[in-house]
């Protein structure tokens, strides 16, 4: 306590210095906010060297894949859908416009124009009459007539690679896939497109979606929300406090503390080089209620006591004497709850947890230092009309008080005293029901659902996924799983093959074998072996007669087929296996479409045979596949093939289009593919691995949920230990955990029952629940013990507890719960979630504290207070405090008589 006294003394005696120091700190740290680096990429939920991210980036590079903005054009009004000259003209213009986009301030950010997927940039393989096949741009120029438009539609519909991807099956929609060099360029692309579209008149609707758009747009709007929601909540809290305390000057103090805490914490966060992530952007919203809570406790008590003494210093000393310990412990426990997030494997969550923890302790420190200083700086006059007595008098005058909480609280006190067993039983029943609710919880996240239902991004996602195979992408990467053979092993194979191809031609065989032996000795790698052998065999063939030459060519072919063993994605068996896998994925109902090298081979093969339906298949031989593919490569975009297979044919990419961004749907797909591989062993060894944003989201969600659970359990344990130390009793410690446990159980049960997904914001909020809910319990129990020491009877204690202590808790509940209602108006769902959560946490934990705790104390009172009565009453019995309460009670009673 001495430390407290010293601090208090300092604050009261040098209030100006204390205030100046706080202002200077806030300004210095606040200045660092200028260096803000925003990071809205959920990918960063995983650290950069996380295996799945490394692989994802490698896949993007290997297959030249970029993050994609999807621009959908829908025409429901024209009988021909989008396939009319007017709409296609706009499609053409928008494609050309998209090609030109780049950020003037950052050369790294631009549209990757050569990879745009649009009617004007893809080839249509078509039958051009006279048994000819042609590779033509699907839409080189916008068509002039209805017939030309129909032709474009028919060509696109006939191409399984385009149908469901570029054009919708109903012909009403068309999509332009705009790849961007950097994901955080998505919002700018969206804005530029919107601006361009604004000038269009016509019956078309335009929708812009894609995961990068959702993520980047969320980032931008999130910061706008920060600038709206946080101050609105601040104003709301301010108004509520004014209603309770009716003294503008006094309630300014908690506001100042909240501001100083938020500004300093954010300044420190940015100043230490951390980027402001989606998570950390929520720090101000989390810190504000916590920063205000302690001040409300002090003010509430000061409010109740001041008029008794009319002495600021004496009142302050008393109030701080009561509150120092509970405030310290509530702050430490809340901070512990958040700091435990540092145990999660998710960097932004770690940063978030640590800085909120820091902010809480800062708020605590500022509260105990600045509030007394601030009160000291106020003139006596401004305190005159402050305090319960005055408030009571005012009430008499107006006879109207919407916030008369004293009477219901007293009733509640009686209720908990006489109906303790009922309350305990009811709580138990609630817990059992809650357990069912919690079991209903569905873990799922979906960045699209971060937007409110009527938000443009969410509407776009819904509309486009109704028309297309799916705008959420994942990549299933298949890799040759066979180990590279050694030069010796290969050579044995080659020897065997030449003895077959050159059988009965001893001369040639000898020549061939001599070269093999020579090359085998010198070649260190398989690659060198093949190249050298091929080169030498070719050079020998120059002087052969035609008959020998043909035989020789057969040997070269055989050599190549050995070499091509690793090119498994030219192998017809493997391609047919992929076909089966893709068909299987479609049966899950979640995958709307998938594209692979097999699909390309089948389509080209068919067109080589004049569009014969029967030939929509994989050629029978590996060379057949190779020659089909080289025919395709005589198109405008030969490199498009390399998005689906590597040029060495050792790795393939199945581009999976999902109908939505739900993690749980991605998980079903993952499980389905696992099952497929298990039940259908591939013809050769194939390793498979996933990449793509939709998949990455699943990975970090999984890490986060587990991480959150761990961090929650460990912080629960730490808090329990802290409580047991604070109360020097495990039983009291356990008691303190009751309200928060019930709060968490009820809140998560509600989430389970109403079917809200357990997503990122919900997961994070468990720490907030722990931090806030324990607050009330500590205050309540600490005061209970203190009063019990004085009264020696639970009945008397209970009565007194439902005076000032219960009022302080109720005021806190109301201020914070209502204060955050502006969050409900935000167009971003996580903000709404936080708003609802804060209100529920405050309401439920406040109620649980003042209803369940007294009931349990009543039931357990013999065990709880065992020894207390024997122990000597604590040094100072606060006579004045008693008087206050008695006066207070008298006051209220008078009031009742009058009204």
């Amino acid at each position: 306590m001495s430390k407290n006294n010293l601090l208090l003394k300092y604050s009261i005696e040098w209030p100006k210095t204390v205030t100046a120091l706080m202002v200077i700190m806030t300004i210095l740290l606040g200045a660092l906010i200028m260096n803000i680096q925003v990071d809205t990429d959920p990918e960063n939920m995983l650290s950069e060297d996380e295996a799945v991210r490394v692989f994802h980036n490698q896949v993007k590079k290997t297959f030249d894949l970029q993050d994609v903005v999807v621009l959908g054009i829908v025409n429901e009004n024209d009988p021909d859908g989008v396939f009319n000259p007017a709409t296609l003209k706009k499609v053409h213009e928008l494609t050309e416009f998209a090609k030109t986009l780049s950020d003037p301030n950052d050369p790294e950010k631009h549209v990757v124009s050569q990879n745009i997927l649009a009617p004007g940039t893809v080839d249509a393989i078509e039958q051009a009459g006279m048994g000819q096949v042609s590779f033509n741009w699907l839409m080189k120029e916008p068509p002039q007539t209805r017939e030309e438009s129909h032709k474009i539609r028919d060509l696109a519909m006939n191409n399984p690679l385009l149908k469901g991807t570029l054009v919708s099956e109903d012909g009403k929609a068309l999509a332009i896939y705009i790849p961007i060099s950097k994901k955080d360029y998505a919002y700018q692309v969206r804005s530029a497109l919107q601006e361009k579209i604004e000038d269009y008149s016509g019956k078309e609707q335009y929708h812009i979606t894609g995961l990068p758009v959702a993520e980047d747009t969320f980032g931008v709007e999130m910061f706008i929300q920060m600038a709206i929601s946080a101050p609105l909540a601040m104003i709301m809290i301010f108004i509520l406090m004014f209603i309770f305390f009716k003294n503008l000057k006094l309630i300014t103090a908690p506001m100042i503390i909240a501001m100083a805490t938020v500004i300093s914490t954010m300044g420190l966060l940015i100043g230490t080089g951390n980027t402001v992530h989606i998570m950390s952007s929520m720090i101000p919203i989390f810190l504000m209620p916590i920063a205000v809570v302690d001040s409300v406790h002090i003010l509430s008590e000061f409010f109740d006591l001041y008029q008794q003494t009319k002495n600021r210093r004496a009142t302050l000393e008393k109030v701080m004497g009561h509150l120092f310990r509970p405030m310290f412990f509530t702050s430490v426990t809340s901070a512990t709850g958040f700091a435990s997030l540092a145990l999660t494997p998710i960097p932004p969550v770690r940063t978030f947890g640590l800085f909120v923890a820091f902010g809480i302790m800062l708020a605590w420190f500022l509260t105990i230092v600045f509030i007394p200083a601030y009160i000291s700086l106020l003139s006596e006059k401004s305190l005159n009309n402050f305090g319960t007595v005055v408030a009571a008098k005012n009430k008499k005058r107006t006879k109207k008080d919407y916030f008369n909480i004293t009477k219901p609280l007293r009733w509640l006190g009686d209720f908990t005293y006489y109906r303790a067993k009922f309350i305990a039983t009811a709580s138990l029943i609630i817990l059992i029901i809650a357990a069912f609710g919690i079991m209903q919880i569905e873990i799922n996240d979906n960045p699209i659902k971060w937007f409110a239902k009527d938000h443009e991004v969410r509407v776009a996602d819904r509309v486009l996924n109704e028309h297309f195979g799916g705008t959420h992408e994942a990549y299933l990467i298949l890799t040759n799983g066979k180990k590279q053979s050694t030069v010796g092993e290969i050579s044995t194979q080659v020897q065997k093959s030449v003895s077959t191809t050159l059988t009965a031609h001893d001369e040639l065989l000898k020549t061939a074998q001599a070269i093999i032996t020579n090359v085998e000795e010198n070649a260190k790698t398989a690659d060198v072996y093949f190249s050298k052998l091929n080169e030498l065999w070719e050079s020998v063939s120059d002087d052969m007669n035609n008959e020998d030459y043909d035989l020789w060519l057969n040997s070269l072919d055989a050599l190549q087929s050995i070499r091509d063993q690793n090119q498994i994605f030219k192998n017809p068996e493997v391609l047919n296996y992929i076909d089966k896998l893709e068909d299987y994925m479609l049966t899950t109902g979640i995958v709307g479409k998938s594209n692979s090298v097999t699909d390309i081979v089948k389509k080209v093969h068919q067109e080589l045979y004049a569009g014969d339906e029967e030939k929509f298949s994989v050629p029978e031989t590996q060379n057949g596949v190779a020659q089909t593919l080289i025919s395709l490569q005589s198109s405008h975009n030969p490199d498009d093939l390399w998005h689906l297979v590597t040029p060495d044919y050792s790795q393939a990419n199945i581009w999976v289009q999902l109908k939505n961004g739900n993690n749980k749907d991605m998980e079903i797909t993952l499980a389905g593919v696992d099952k497929f591989f298990k039940n259908n062993p591939p013809p050769v060894e194939i390793d498979y691995k996933w990449a793509g944003l939709t998949y990455i989201n699943v990975v970090w969600q999984d890490k986060m949920v587990k991480g959150m659970l761990n961090s929650f359990l460990s912080s629960f344990l730490v808090v329990l230990i802290l409580m047991s130390i604070l109360f020097r009793s495990v039983l009291w410690g356990l008691l303190a955990m009751v309200p928060l446990s019930i709060t968490i159980a009820i809140i998560y049960a509600l989430i389970g029952f109403i079917g809200k997904d357990y997503d990122m914001p919900v997961a994070i909020l468990s720490s907030l629940t722990l931090g806030l809910a324990i607050d009330f319990a500590i205050h309540f129990l600490e005061r209970t013990r203190e009063i019990y020491k004085q009264t020696g009877s639970w009945e008397a204690t209970s009565r007194l507890m439902f005076e000032e202590p219960a009022r302080a808790i109720t005021r806190n509940v109301i201020v914070i719960a209502i204060g955050f209602t502006p969050l409900l108006l935000a167009p971003l769902v996580p903000y709404q979630t936080v708003g609802i959560f804060l209100a529920s946490i405050m309401a439920i934990s406040g109620l649980a504290t003042i209803v369940i705790l007294p009931a349990l104390i009543n039931i357990l009172k013999t065990k709880l207070f065992k020894g207390t009565s024997n122990r000597k009453l604590q040094s100072e019995i606060d006579e004045q405090y008693k008087t206050t309460i008695i006066n207070d009670i008298n006051d209220e009673e008078q009031l009742e008589v009058i009204s």
Binding site: K61, T62, D64, E96, K99, T100, S113, Q114, D123, A128, G129, M130, G131, Q132, V133, S134, F135, N136, W137, K140, E141, N534, E538, D542, N546, Y549, L553, L556, D557, L559, Q560, S561, R563, D564, K570, L608, Y609, P619, T621, Q622, N623, G624, A626, Q627, T628, I630, S631, Q633, S634, S635, H636, N637, P638, D639, L641, W642, T646, P647, D648
Partner: protein
């Protein structure tokens, strides 16, 4: 009035003639230049044979090889031509062959033979600006672009080169807005071409890296196409080049697609 007009006309004519002589001292009209260039690049000798190795490098420095033999026979300089291309590598497309009858007055005829499918396929030639077997070269780079497709302007004459700008007469038919060609003054071989896209940005560059005189004909023996957008490129090397080897017209018939003529071998 009449007088004045007459004097003015005479003066103007005189000036124009003078100007023509001053600038035209040794200078050539642009049509002549591009015709000579076209002949030098695509019509050397009456026929010819070359072995070509293409190395295709993508933006990630992954390389692929194409090796083929090409036979050519001209009807007359600047006129119709026939090409026969026989693939040797990659080995899984070995024996694949490709034939073109280039027609200056109508669309080309193109055939492709795929041995693994035992299939001869006609390829429509509606657009010649498609990739040549997956390389950065276009069919048009291999067989030549018709001079009538563009309007030509001589924009610069340097010590070594005529620089000609070419603008397509039908801009909708091609992906470029114009291209500039540097033509060697001595050999008339085009040695460099830069293509601008519709946004007037250079996106493609073709360059002769090495030229040799073979059988009296200046010949490009190494050339490169660069895709300036993706960063990929293809380098072609020509070896065992010969001209006037007496190729018969009937070699360039469909029948030979399945069974390559012996001239494919040296």
């Amino acid at each position: 009035m009449n007088n004045n007009n007459f004097i003015l006309k005479t003066l103007t004519t005189a000036l124009l003639i003078l100007a023509h002589f001053v600038s035209g001292a040794g200078a050539m009209d642009v049509e002549t230049i591009i015709q000579k260039a076209n002949n030098a690049a695509y019509y050397a000798g009456d026929d010819g044979r070359a072995e070509i190795k293409m190395e295709i490098t993508d933006s990630q420095n992954r390389t692929r090889i194409r090796k083929f033999v090409i036979l050519r026979k001209d009807e007359k300089d600047g006129g119709n031509q026939m090409f026969y291309v026989y693939f040797q590598r990659p080995s899984d497309v070995r024996k694949m062959s490709f034939m073109v009858h280039k027609n200056t007055k109508k669309d080309d005829d193109r055939w492709l033979y795929l041995p693994a499918l035992d299939l001869v396929k006609r390829i429509a030639a509606s657009d010649k600006r498609t990739s040549f077997v997956g390389s950065h070269f276009y069919y048009e780079d291999v067989s030549g672009r018709s001079l009538n497709d563009d309007a030509h302007t001589l924009i610069e004459t340097t010590d070594k080169h005529y620089v000609v700008n070419n603008t397509p007469k039908d801009p909708g038919s091609v992906e470029f807005s114009s291209f500039k060609v540097w033509i060697d003054k001595k050999t008339f071989l085009p040695v460099k071409a830069v293509y601008l896209d519709k946004q007037q940005k250079a996106y493609r560059e073709v360059e002769a890296l090495e030229t040799k005189e073979i059988g009296g004909y200046p010949t490009v023996t190494k050339s490169r196409v660069k895709d300036l957008l993706s960063g990929g490129e293809t380098v072609s090397e020509f070896t065992n080049v010969s001209y006037n080897i007496g190729l018969k017209t009937n070699l360039f018939s469909e029948r030979y697609l399945r069974k390559p003529p012996k001239q494919i071998r040296k």
